[in-house]
Amino acid sequence: MGLLLLSLVLVVAVSRSQRAMDMHRHITFEDRSPQFLPNGKALTWMSLGHRASLADALWIKSVLYYGRRVIDEDNPYYAYQAKRSVDDASRRDNAHITFLPDTVPGMDSALLPVLFRMGGRGLVNDIYPLLDRVTTLDPHFIMPYVFGGVSVLMDTGELDKAESLLQKGRKANPEEWRFPFYLGWLSWMYRGDARAAHQLMIAALPLKGCPPFVADLIEGLSGKLNRKALTIRYLEGMLESTESPEIREQLAAVVAQLRKSE
């Protein structure tokens, strides 16, 4: 009987003290900055033979970090905390943003709001350092390169970082057609350099797995299609070659919006 009473008292004590502590607990949205993570090379050695698993774990962290701050804006908890955590100073400091839509020669202004949402400007400054670590740990993991080179770029405008990530992927995976393909997309859409894009497409064409639509794009880049039609064809190609349902959904929405404005 005494033991039962003691157990009851302890259960009440545990429950009450937990509630008391919860009342004083501040809900914080805190992502530890990857600046405090060792660089990719050091992480490779520290993983003691489990570099791919560590890369996966950091990749999931990157997706969650990005999703909470950019994609999941309807979530009141994350939206509020994320917006609050980005102070005015960091929003003003846009030195890392190297793409400005009005600097691209021949850019159709109707394409701008569709292709370059830029809603994540200043919100996800740590995404590229994270992706850099993921891709150093596992250089053959294609998805993080594509994610950083296309999706993140569309949301943040950090062109130099996106391009350097894709270049890194191309160097580590010279037989993968998607790298010259996406680099071509960057050259054409973001730098307005159709010639460089054309050359990159030609480089992608003989690589294993390169789909036939790339040949159409090469023809389009030679000047036979208008910019919007070519953009749609390019995006449809991306849609076809992307495995991720989330990125596919994102690209499909952009294509639908462009078709509507035709």
């Binding site: 050695w45 003691l48 033979g49 489990h50 570099r51 791919a52 698993s53 890369a55 996966d56 990749w59 999931i60 997706v63 969650l64 596992d138 053959h140 993991f141 998805m143 994610f147 495995e243 991720s244 349902p245 989330e246 990125i247």
Partner: protein
């Protein structure tokens, strides 16, 4: 026949161990849990499950090697039950080999169960069994055996705590030996090269037995990679067992 009796006895003894069962259940749970974790990976579930599954196999294999491998020797020596075996007409090297093979058999059962769990998780995700993972799993098993051999070696002359520290240190150095090699080549004018070179040549190069990333991502391997790795691992294993037998042979059991 005497060796076989020792092997069977050790197998029966270790397979009933509760620690082993706990570790195994935890490992299989983790492998199945990767199904959920993989869901947050933007369509990369297959890769995540395989990577996490192979890592779980390797890490929990190491834990089993550490707990059971050390216990196997230490318990016998501390509780003096080794006298009973030593008083029988068996060579001491037979005791070492019998215990090693018995535990090796237990580990083989464990690795097989973890493989089934991993294939099951992969089948739920991709609808098929990925046989390409097998070379990596074989080498993970070989790596675990090397760690078991080291645990037994250290336990034959050091205290249990020191033997555990030495075993973990060997595992870490085994995976860092490539780094030592790179360091010596990159900075040839810095000191302590003789020491780093020595460690590189003496310590097991466990990265040579690491095919996890290669099989998951279907990377091209040099010809006969698996064969070379297996020959390297088995030769190294034999050397450690030989050293353990020698130390045990000379050990004063009084």
């Amino acid at each position: 026949m005497r060796l076989l009796a020792l092997v069977i006895n050790t197998f029966k003894e270790t397979i009933r161990n509760r620690i082993l069962l706990n570790i195994l259940v935890f490992a299989i749970t983790l492998i199945l849990l990767s199904l959920v974790i993989g869901d947050w990976s933007l369509g990369q579930q297959g890769k995540v499950i395989k990577d996490f599954g192979l890592s779980a196999m390797s890490i929990f294999g190491l834990l089993i090697a550490l707990f059971i491998g050390l216990r196997l020797m230490v318990q016998e020596l501390e509780q003096h039950t080794i006298y009973i075996i030593a008083s029988k007409p068996v060579h001491r090297w037979e005791i070492v080999l019998g215990k090693f093979l018995g535990l090796g058999l237990t580990l083989a059962v464990n690795v097989a169960l973890m493989t089934v769990a991993l294939w099951l998780a992969g089948m739920l995700m991709e609808g098929g069994i990925d046989l390409a993972l097998l070379p990596a799993i074989v080498l993970i098993y070989l790596e675990i055996l090397i760690i078991v051999a080291f645990a037994m070696f250290y336990a034959s002359f050091a205290s249990p705590m020191m033997a555990a520290v030495f075993t973990l240190g060997t595992f870490a150095v085994g995976h860092l030996s490539g780094f030592l090699y790179d360091y010596v080549r990159l900075y040839p004018d810095r000191g302590l090269h003789w020491l780093l070179r020595g460690i590189y040549h003496i310590a097991p190069n466990l990265e040579k037995l690491n095919l996890k990333m290669a099989v998951v991502e279907g990377l091209k391997q040099p010809p006969h990679q698996l064969l070379h790795a297996a020959v390297y691992g088995l030769s190294y294993l034999a050397l450690i067992l030989l050293a353990t037998a020698l130390v045990f042979e000379r050990k004063d059991l009084k």
